[in-house]
Amino acid sequence: MNAAHHAMTKPAMGARTVWSLFFHRLGAHRLAVGSAVFLAVLGVLAFATPAIEAVLGVDANLVDLSRRFQGPSRAHLLGTDELGRDLLVRLLYGGQVSLFVGIVAALASAVTGTVVGLLAGYYGGRLDAFLMRLTDGVIALPLLPLLIVLAALDLTKLGLPESVVQDPNISLYRIIVIISLVGWTTVARLVRAAALSVREMDYVLAATAAGAGGLRIMAVHILPNVISPIIVASTLSVGNVILLESVLSFLGLGIQPPIASWGNMLTGAQELIWSSPELAFYPGMLIFVTVIAFNFLGDGLQDAMDPRAIEG
């Protein structure tokens, strides 16, 4: 069926705007809605962790060796880890880190990819050929081994000042930078393909005739047409970034303790699977649920934004 038919099934609502159609379709994707709610709750909890710490009267980084491996109790709702720290607030801090890294790296990748794709698609020719070979080259690389190398680099040898290298949050920034370095290719291709087709449209010709420059055409006429695939790709890539961050942190190359991340909470867990398997269970389960939520949300957004999907 088509949009007209769809609208006609509910004549009382009259003509529908693009946005009401979008929300209607997104609402029909129950998994995506559930995922959005879950992510919102997780986000609020994760960023309210200092308050939760205060309410519960625990400290995520307080090492207390006399309270190791405790089961759930009133003082520690999920028990304590191998250093006697409260598991629940560490999980929440880990969520803060994973969400922050995932969203920031996905945004940075989206911006880079959009710029590369717009330049390649709009200007074409040699610039296009060069940028697309570069994109193909990055896509063709075995990602994880390279990320491991990048994560293991000695920053002082890169000429960064000591104050930057010693920053307690450096592992956070480093992981965002290296993932953004390789994560922009999907968006670059999507934007290029869209820019190629839009650039031939009559209204772009009209804008050119009216004297609009390349920058204005790209920003005003092409970008709005490619925004929905960018949003879909970026949502899906948040999940991928979280997976990459967690595996690098797990291997000891990502987020460094004492900052908690779901990945580095699992680093020691392999030795503990006999004594307390739940320490290995919770962080991984949270990574899994969060990543699947971003994937469902991306899938739902894709269906809701794809004009061809109306027939479904």
Binding site: A129, M132, R133, D136, G137, I139, A140, L141, P142, L143, L144, P145, L146, I148, V149, L150, A152, L153, D154, K157, L158, R189, G239, L243, S246, V247, F250, L251, G263, L266, A269, Q270, I273, W274, P277, A280, F281, P283, G284, I287, F288, V291, I292, N295, F296, D299, G312
Partner: protein, 324 residues
């Protein structure tokens, strides 16, 4: 077609050369350098000795010069010695390669054998409960952190119900075929769960696309049975893009293999790369990384060529461009 093949070949070689330089430069930025390691193992070395050693190994030269020197030696077949394995790096690799080949090959075959029929089934019963369940399973497979999946499988099948070995390629003192096969079960299951979700989704999407085509309607109109239409007409055409995408995702499968091998202490190329980076074995890391890049590039090249060869509608007179 020949021009296209040549163009893609030249392109791959250029990417490989650039990557060899990038990886060489990156390895030089790793913490610690070979001379520091020598000083650590022999405290009698003076700073003057260290400087002389740097000169002997050419470490005082600029990066480009060192790279050219390395590249010349590499072209004549000398890739240097491995620090961890105390052997020429090329002698270290074959055993690891074979193990990775077994792991990835088995995973690949099992994934395809399951993903193709399941993907077609889901496509033919779009929006059914079965399709919905398959879709959920695929998302789960795509979203699960593979190192944690490995950990959970170890907990369940090696700790709680100790039926399978959790690490290595064989029991201590070797073992027969059956023993080696038992050691492969958990790594292959892990890597299969990691890869099968995206394969199935590709297959489903591709089949849905093909089933909308006019020639499918024509085949039905001519009275062909549903099975015949699906197997003879739809499947072939649906497989084409899937083959390409799967070959293009070789790098992803290799990344998954790296984690799987590390988790199960399975001596393959991924673990070799990880261990050599962690153990400051720079010669080994460099060659193993380059080899992984080479194989990934070859897989991509094969995907492009297979696509060009299998799809008669595409002609490549221009050369150089990728059919995407």
């Amino acid at each position: 077609m020949t021009r296209y093949v040549m163009g893609r070949l030249v392109e791959s070689v250029i990417v490989l050369v650039i990557m060899s330089f990038v990886i060489y430069a990156l390895i030089g930025l790793m913490p610690g350098d070979p001379i520091d390691l020598m000083i650590k193992s022999d405290p009698r070395l003076t700073p003057a000795d260290a400087a002389r050693l740097r000169a002997v190994y050419g470490l005082d030269k600029p990066l480009a010069e060192r790279y050219l020197h390395w590249a010349m030696a590499a072209l004549s077949g000398d890739f240097g010695h491995s620090r961890l394995y105390v052997q020429p790096v090329l002698d270290v690799m074959p055993g690891f390669l074979l193990n990775t080949f077994n792991l990835m090959g088995l995973t690949f075959v099992i994934s395809i054998v399951i993903a193709v029929p399941v993907g077609v089934y889901a496509a033919l019963r779009q929006h059914s409960a079965g399709d919905y369940a398959i879709n959920l399973a695929c998302f789960a497979g795509i979203s699960v952190p593979i190192f944690w999946l490995a950990l959970m499988l170890i907990i369940v099948f090696a700790v709680l119900i100790p039926v399978l070995p959790a690490s290595g390629v064989s029991s201590v003192g070797g073992g027969g075929f059956l023993d080696r096969a038992r050691h492969l079960v958990l790594p292959v299951v892990t890597l299969t769960i990691f890869s099968i979700g995206s394969y199935t989704r590709f297959m489903r999407a591709s089949t849905i696309e093909v089933m909308r085509q006019d020639y499918i309607r024509t085949a039905f109109a001519k009275g062909a049975s549903r099975n015949r239409v699906v197997v003879r007409h739809a499947l072939r055409n649906a497989l084409l893009p899937v083959v390409t995408i799967i070959a293009l995702s070789f790098g992803t499968l290799f990344s998954g293999a790296l984690i799987t091998e590390t988790m199960f202490a399975y001596p393959g190329m991924g673990k070799l790369i990880y261990d050599s980076i962690m153990g400051n074995d720079f010669n080994m890391a460099l060659v193993a990384l380059l080899f992984a890049t080479l194989v990934t590039l070859l897989a991509n090249l094969a995907a492009d060529l297979a696509y060009a060869w299998l799809d008669p509608r595409i002609s490549y007179s221009g050369g150089g461009g990728t059919p995407r």
